[in-house]
Amino acid sequence: MSLETRSTTFPQQVRVARADANLQQALGKLKFGLTAMRGAAVAKLPEFEQLRHDAAAIRDHTLNHLDHYLLRFEAAAKARGGHVHFAPDAAAANAIVLEICRSVDARKVTKGKSMVTEEIELNAHLEAHGITCLETDLGEYIVQLRKERPSHIVAPAIHVLKEQVAETFAAHHGPALAGGRSEPAALMAEARAVIRRHFLEADVGITGANFAIAETGSTVIVTNEGNGDLTQSLPKVHIAVTGIEKIVPTLEDASTLIRLLSRSATGQEASVYNTFSSGPRRPEDPDGPEAFHVILVDNGRSSMLGSVFQDMLRCIRCGACMNHCPVYGQVGGQAYGSVYPGPMGAVLTPSLAGIEVAGHLPNASTFCGACEAVCPVRIPLPKLMRHWREREFEAGLAPSASRFGLALWGFAARRPWLYRLLSRAAATLLARLGGRRGYLARLPLGRGWTAWRDLPAPAGVTFQAAYRRRRGGDADAGKG
């Protein structure tokens, strides 16, 4: 359990997020951006549902035979001259990367976007050992300059407005280029000019991998900016760091998943770059790294195999669940206090970091089901969040107020006579308190409700009481 989180203080982070006008403005664009684009892309692909079905089956099959496919991947990658490392946890993964960097006396590392390296906090580890890390994905670069964490697994800086990007660049880059800093294209051009220098200076390039193909020993990155390609092809060494669950059996399987990934993530029929890396540069290749390393990180994943949470390992990190999540839409990714926010994070974070520190995340859901409805690999996210609530309840970790309330309610609900007695008394009382207006603005023990809402007062008599009276007190009336 080595995923660091700030999830225990989720409610405080929610208040900060709700009070942040810039964040709220940025989040307001989500539903007209990624969500609408996904909808349009899905509408144009009649076989989308069939693809989801096929993709879930591919992922299930692979996970059920993960040991087999991991070894096949290792053999195929080695046959092409690559090196494969298995890292049981974050510390091991970081140590392997550092050792590779030291073996080539690396001073500077460029990085393509990788959530696993965020998870293991690789940058901090390398920086602590004197190696400079530069994020080259535009969103990651912005977040790195701002000393923040990504707020979204696909769009790391989705919480930042372009005006804030301009401020950040002014603070770090000095005077603007000729294009100024008011338009996104100008900001991108500025970032490109700065980052390009670093590509040429880097000793090692580190990327993630959207997929690792067992058949060919290849890793795949699906990107839009081209930074990933420069990251992995210009330096002497390319290290791909990814989770053990990213294995797929064949090229054909990878292409099925890629068709879903691009549409689900950004509404693109295909992302701009789908880059397959198979070993280091061969003599006839015009470019490429001299060495190719793949680090397959476990860090808690294997403990999910064979458990009720195994379905979560199907995840291909498209971000559609968070794009469609009304909770994420109100608070953004950083409130979750975890590298993985939103619905997928609400299931994955407790798996990797422990339910005792991440208990809020699976609880902060209405179970509206929007996430499951769009998940390209059909992960039953609400069901898995509910499983975490069950684990939390069993371990006695649920807040005592809610346990007490639930116990009281459960005691009555199991005893129909008592339940009727109490509900009739409460209905009478609340109806009186509601007065002529018919609403209660305050409730003892009900601040959670009345902080935002009035409580519509009950009619004053329960249905059961009115129904039995209408039936003339016939005790057998309606008995099944």
Partner: protein, 259 residues
């Protein structure tokens, strides 16, 4: 087809807050040719316990509902959320539970009210809406929509009753109720219901209708707090409205009889 004996799962929220929804449900089912039975020993479907991770309590309440509704042709509730819960009873009990088969049986014959009327009975109604309801917009409650696939059925019934719907943007977006969620995370829930209120207002409707009382209490409570004059109705209150006056008299009479 012989007359179906249908058990009404009143739901704890209807029982407590809006008994007229229960009476309107009975009228609709009777108008559609059903014999309606209301088991007295029902309390709650157990969803608050289930979604809070309390499996033991969920099992006790599931077994009570299974027993209360044994022997009926169908179980119907004016709520997609509660029926969604009944459909989970096999998972609540687990495969190895001795009553698992009973849970599967119940899950297979329980229905949300509007889908039961339209899909199972072919009923279209034709009741008249009370005058003064004005333009109506429909909120798709999450469990009904995404767990049970209910989207067209309520609109079919409203259209047959002469109601024209002004669809709101984001009709399928959660209102932020979420059971205990709305109490545990009031800031998030409050922001979500504010978005819903804004969607309702943009639609120009003066009445918002849904098929689940949890959402409706949440939306109504926020509208009341903001002083918005939008009316909030459960769909059966519109569809079964012609005899509402008579039942309200019963309610008032019952209230007066209380000591």
């Amino acid at each position: 087809m012989s007359r179906r004996r249908v058990g009404l799962l009143v739901t704890c929220l209807v029982d407590f807050f809006r008994p007229e929804v229960g009476f309107a449900s009975i009228r609709l089912l009777e108008a559609a040719g059903c014999e309606v039975v209301v088991p007295e020993i029902q309390t709650c479907c157990g969803q608050p316990a289930w979604n809070s991770g309390d499996r033991d309590s969920s099992q006790v309440l599931a077994l009570a509902i299974i027993d209360a509704f044994a022997g009926l042709d169908a179980v119907v509730a004016p709520s997609g959320s509660c029926i969604g819960m009944l459909r989970q009873y096999p998972a609540v009990l687990g495969d190895s539970h001795p009553r698992h088969a009973d849970a599967v049986g119940l899950a297979g014959r329980c229905h949300e009210l509007t889908s039961f009327l339209v899909d199972e009975l072919g009923y279209r109604g034709g009741g008249k809406v009370q005058p003064g309801d004005g333009p109506v917009t429909y909120h798709d409650a999450c469990a009904g929509l995404r767990e049970l696939g209910i989207r067209d059925q309520p609109r079919t019934l409203l259209a047959a009753a002469g109601v024209s719907i002004r669809e709101m943007d984001g009709a399928t977006v959660c209102c932020g109720f979420g059971g205990t969620f709305c109490i545990k995370y009031p800031e998030i829930s409050g922001a979500m219901v504010d978005d819903k209120v804004a969607s309702i207002e943009r639609s120009g409707a003066t009445t918002v209708v849904a098929g689940d009382l949890g959402c409706l209490l949440n939306i109504e409570g926020r509208l009341a707090r903001l002083g918005k004059p939008v009316r909030v109705r459960h769909i059966v209150e519109l569809l079964g409205a012609e005899r509402l006056g008579a039942d309200l008299n019963v309610l008032e009479a019952s209230a007066e009889q209380r000591p």
